[in-house]
């Protein structure tokens, strides 16, 4: 049995460190590889089918898709700045704004992306960073077998839904979006969130649970523990397709449109490939593929046309897109930390 002492340990570590000087990334024999961060769940599958596979066929590069939630992905970018774990990111606008503020993204040359010209005019971005490429709509999911169909956001505060509501945590996009909506219903907004907090505190006695992930929320709906909750159209439709008794409605004050952007990480080694991939994501085929069942991702390409039963849930026309509420994520992000602190302290079931 050998005696291990400090000196031999340090000597070994120093010797081993020399091995790590070999950098294999630049070796020419490696096929071009693109790492894309996608949304989780069905959208990861959709990205493979509608974007990655056609892209691999047309360029010969290999695409690795990583399904990670946007907030965590930005944290990971920050943790390894300079050597990003992803080249392209499909991210929610909230975390995207944070990433830009922290200098983690690279500007996207829209002039080198032909399909960017086909985006709805009011959805085009001009801040130099990545274009919008998908839309999730937050409305109200409800169980038609157990509760009445709600008509508006304000309905949630009605006595008929007491003891049947689930909310989303203040750390999630859904939770924050709902709180801003609640503020707007009560005379406030992104710049005056106090009325939003008060409205949610008034709702708390009617709330059954604040599940931490949409997966747990799905379980609660399925088990009948919860019958109504603010939720994305995509998650709701996916559950409905699996046979859960659930439906979705766009409230009359306006459902909230939340856009996913396609971004390029700063420090990526394959910038040209990344730009080409974004063009693929914005193509009519990819956009239509993602807009239809089973992905239901709201398209930004103005020529996507959907069958009527899908169009009821997915905004694909000029009017539908115009009817969506859009939130001021720049202001939200400036206050996000403070709101999260306040949420943790004040919202208790």
């Amino acid at each position: 049995m050998t005696q291990l002492d400090r000196r031999s340990l340090f000597k070994s570590a120093a010797g081993g460190a020399a091995l790590t000087m070999l950098d294999v990334r630049g070796m020419a024999w490696a096929q071009q590889r693109l790492v894309v961060k996608t949304f989780t769940g069905q959208w990861n599958v959709g990205a493979r089918e509608t974007a990655a596979t056609p892209f691999e066929r047309s360029t010969g590069a290999s695409v690795t898709l990583v399904a990670v939630n946007s907030v965590e992905a930005i944290a990971k970018l920050k943790a390894s700045a300079g050597s990003p774990p992803y080249d392209v990111l499909l991210v929610d606008e909230g975390p995207r704004a944070q990433a830009i503020a922290q200098g983690l993204l690279s500007p996207v040359p829209l002039d080198r992306i032909p399909n960017a010209r086909n985006i709805y005019p009011q959805l085009r971005v001009d801040d130099g960073y990545g274009p919008r490429q998908s839309c999730s709509v937050m409305g109200i999911a409800y169980d038609p077998k157990r509760v009445e169909r709600p008509q508006s956001w304000a309905d949630l505060w009605a006595p008929k839904y007491k003891g049947k509501i689930a909310l989303n945590p203040g750390s999630a996009t859904l939770g924050i979006s709902f709180m801003v909506v609640a503020a707007k219903l009560n005379g406030g907004g992104e710049r005056d969130i106090g009325s939003g907090f008060d409205a949610i505190k008034r709702l708390v006695p009617s709330v059954v649970s604040i599940p931490n992930t949409p997966a747990v929320l799905a379980t609660l709906f399925e088990r009948g523990e919860v019958s109504i909750a603010p939720l994305w159209n995509t998650n709701t439709l996916a559950l409905k397709a699996k046979g859960v008794s659930i439906d979705w409605v766009a409230p009359k004050e306006g459902a909230v449109g939340s856009y996913g952007h396609a971004e390029i990480a700063k420090g990526t080694a394959v910038a040209d490939l990344a730009v080409k991939f974004i063009d693929q994501v914005l193509s009519l085929d990819s956009q239509s593929g993602m807009a239809n069942s089973p992905y239901f991702s709201g398209p930004v390409h103005k020529d996507v046309r959907l069958p009527p039963e899908t169009a009821a849930y997915v905004p694909s026309t000029e009017e539908a897109v115009a009817a969506l509420q859009r939130l001021d994520w720049k202001t939200i992000n400036e206050n996000r930390e403070a709101w999260l602190e306040r949420w943790d302290r004040e919202i208790r079931l």
Binding site: L4, L9, A13, G16, L19, K78, G175, I210, P211, T219
Partner: protein, 284 residues
């Protein structure tokens, strides 16, 4: 019997040493540096720790976490010790089954487990259905997304980590000691209480300390079973680190959690050492 290492064989530890240096020591150093610098950089200071303990909400969260750790450990202890005793005195076949049963929760994913808790503890779940069916309650009781449900779920997951060390300690006790006690007139219960338990104490302490350290740092189970308004320190750290990107606070809280766990572990080791050396002398 130890002998000095020769020059060449020292290098066998190189892979482990490198692994530890890169994946363990370096990140820890980064963590400490974040907690010792003010947000945005600057000179080393303990100000972050001071402001942590000045904030009643953060102190309360720390206390809730520690209290959950103590409660869960005690409950696990009360279940694990008799169970381990029974297993150690059983035939090998029965014993194998018992160990497998305790390990079962670790073999299923946390998502599946939390789904199962919803089915069992939900308002329309098994427990509530049974209670209303038996007429003991009129309305379903809220069992899920409470501190109790988190405690139950944590006990279930940590039980094997208490049973195994205790079982190991009990196995090492010479069974003739208890037989001798019984032949002198002691009942099996007294034999357990006065012979087996004291001898197994170091194992019990080891299991408890491990349990406590794991419970106070548990994230997934409290997050899934406790719901979005249940706050323990690991959940707070996760949110501050990934949502608020407030790495200073996250690092400070992490260091505090680390020191708490280390303190308890060291205390436990000292206590176990005192007990076993006191009994057998220095040659134990």
């Amino acid at each position: 019997m130890a002998y000095e290492s020769t020059g060449a064989s020292q290098w066998l530890v190189a892979p482990l040493a490198l692994f530890l240096a890169v994946y363990y020591l370096a990140p820890l150093a980064v963590l400490f540096s974040y907690s010792l610098e003010p947000r945005g950089g600057g000179a080393l200071t303990l100000a972050n720790f001071v402001s942590f303990f000045r904030d009643p909400f953060l102190v309360e969260t720390l206390w809730v976490t520690i209290r959950l750790g103590i409660e869960t450990t005690l409950i696990t202890l009360v279940i694990a010790v008799p169970f381990a005793y029974f297993a150690s005195r059983s035939e090998p076949g029965v014993r194998r089954i018992l160990i497998f049963v305790t390990l079962l929760p670790l073999l299923t994913s946390t998502v599946v487990r939390s789904f199962a808790w919803v089915v069992i503890l939900g308002r329309r779940g098994l427990v509530n259905d049974a209670l209303t069916g038996l007429g003991l309650i009129d309305e379903p009781v809220r069992l899920l997304f409470t501190t109790s449900s988190v405690r139950i779920a944590l006990v279930q997951v940590h039980l094997p980590l208490m049973v195994l060390p205790v079982l190991n300690a009990l196995d090492r006790i010479n069974p003739t000691l208890e037989q001798a006690a019984q032949s002198l007139g002691a009942s099996p219960a007294v034999a357990f209480w006065r012979i087996a338990l004291p001898l197994a104490l170091p194992g019990i302490i080891a299991g408890s300390v491990l349990n406590f350290a794991l419970t106070i740092s548990a994230y997934v189970t409290p997050a899934l079973v406790g719901g979005g308004s249940f706050n323990v320190l690991p959940i707070l750290i996760y949110r501050r680190a990934t949502v608020s990107l407030n790495w200073t606070l996250a690092a400070t809280a992490s260091v505090i959690l680390l020191i708490t766990a280390l303190a308890v572990i060291l205390l436990g080791q000292y206590a176990a050492h005192r007990i076993s050396s006191g009994r057998y002398g220095a040659n134990g």
